[in-house]
Amino acid sequence: MNEIPGDLKFMKSHEWARVEDNGTVTIGISDHAQGLLGDLVYVELPTVGDDVTAGNACAVVESVKAASDIYAPVSGKVVSVNSALAEKPETINEDAFGEGWIFVVKPSNLAEDSEELLDPDAYAELIENEEH
């Protein structure tokens, strides 16, 4: 289990969100989530310009084993997607919290949406409990 970076916030459904210095929010799935899914073979990215709503599905990751929706941790407009994942979805397996980021949004309601998210300790506790 990789260390969970301290600057991330999490959804219970295992997405992470990081507020960048320029105010955008980078989104991915946790290392725990990639471990549950196993080898990823396909990522369906959102489209730049899409409006996403916190809690709604906006992308899909598929492993050999299963397909899983990715939910938006915050509302806003998609400003960037990690198109390298189209050719190398396994990047998420290798570096879920870094190179395996999935998309970036310009948030529209960050303060309120953030209140719904878990800090790293609360997330660590959540996955700890899941394993037992």
Binding site: G35, G38, V41, Y42, E62, V64, E90
Partner: protein
């Protein structure tokens, strides 16, 4: 209550991700199931298949019994050691299970059946065996390790005594031999050459460790599934069950309608064949990105079908599947994936044989 094979601790020591499979706590992967898949296609991998059920059948009339019990004909088994793949049918011609039977002597055959069907298989075999005075003995004292891949046989042979090595090196495909306390069969479920080794539980961990040291990569159920699907092999419960006859499961090649043999399910099968089988099992390949999955709807010009086994093929780098579709389906169809219709090619399978993609796939 979850059962464990004698190799359970060995899997955990290797960091396996464990899952429940038919009531057994089994390794899904040891890290990356795709790496394990490639190891079997390119070199050698091993699977703990000790959850499968080994049943010994003894009695003077064992061959007669199996001529009655199986849809394939054990009359093909003329030389001791020879193996045969067959379905065991109910009276309606539905598949109770698929299995491998080994001919060891006129009064001694060995059968290996699936783990998930253990209870009903044993009950059925025991019930049918009474009329033939055949003794049915489950061999729970035996473990089983499948070693598969282009280098699998050489690596196994390097661990055997010279007498056993000589026997193991000589046997042809679908033949078994015995030696060093092992039952060594040149069979498998991956489309690669290799052995399935039945080993007394007391020797199983040592054999596993020796295979590891010889460079055989442990592989889990995840890789086993992608390998067998690429190789065009059915999975019981997913590709066929008691409501499906071999005609609609791509298993017509395993049914022998030989003169004068009254096997269970034969009358129903002949009726089904005469009436015309409405559906056929076909292979699908998807060139678009995504993964085909069990239960997805297949749309054809002749009507709807459904995906039985579907997965991402690591060898082809795209999704493949078995589907049951209306008979006469042409070479194109569509699959409904989360509300989107995605085009697929309808192909003959296997998709991969001896490490190489088959042309059509």
């Amino acid at each position: 209550m979850t059962q464990q094979t004698v190799l359970n601790a060995a899997h955990r020591a290797l960091g396996a991700k464990m899952v429940d499979f038919g009531g057994w706590d089994m390794p899904l992967n040891y890290g990356s199931q795709i790496d394990e898949h490639h190891a079997v296609r390119r070199d050698a991998g091993m699977f703990d298949v000790s959850h499968m059920t080994v049943v010994d059948l003894r009695g003077a009339r064992t061959r007669d019994f199996l001529r009655h019990l199986f849809a394939n004909s054990v009359d093909k088994l003329k030389v001791p050691g020879k193996a045969l793949y067959s379905c065991m049918l109910n009276e309606q011609g539905g598949v109770i299970d698929d299995l491998i039977v080994y001919f060891l002597a006129e009064d001694f055959f060995r059968v290996v059946v699936n783990a998930a069907t253990h209870d009903k298989d044993l009950a059925w075999i025991e019930k049918q065996a009474k009329a033939f005075a055949v003794t049915v003995t489950e061999r729970a004292d035996l473990a089983m390790i499948a070693v598969q891949g282009p280098n699998a046989r050489a690596k196994v042979q390097s661990l055997l005594s010279s007498a056993t090595r000589e026997k193991a090196a000589k046997i042809g495909k679908f033949v078994a031999c015995e030696g060093d306390g092992l039952f060594i069969a040149r069979t498998g479920y991956t489309g690669e050459d290799g052995y399935e080794i039945i080993v007394p539980e007391a020797q199983a961990v040592a054999l596993w460790d020796k295979l590891l040291a010889a460079g055989v990569k442990p592989a889990g159920l995840g890789a086993r599934d992608t390998l067998r699907l690429e190789a065009g092999m059915n999975l019981y419960g997913q590709d066929m069950d008691e409501t499906i006859t071999p005609w609609e499961a791509g298993l017509a090649w395993t049914v022998v309608l030989d003169a004068g043999r009254d096997f269970i399910g034969r009358a129903a099968l002949e009726e089904h064949k005469a009436a015309g089988t409405g559906r056929a099992m076909v292979g699908l390949v998807m060139d678009d990105k995504g993964v085909l999955r069990h239960g997805q709807r297949v749309v054809t010009a002749q009507g709807d079908g459904e995906i039985l086994s579907g997965t991402f093929s690591p060898t082809l780098g795209r999704a493949i599947a078995f589907a049951r579709v209306p008979a006469g389906t042409a070479d194109r169809a569509e699959v409904d994936i989360r509300g989107k219709r995605v085009p697929v090619r309808v192909v003959k399978y296997p998709f991969v044989r001896d490490g190489k993609p088959i042309e059509a796939a």
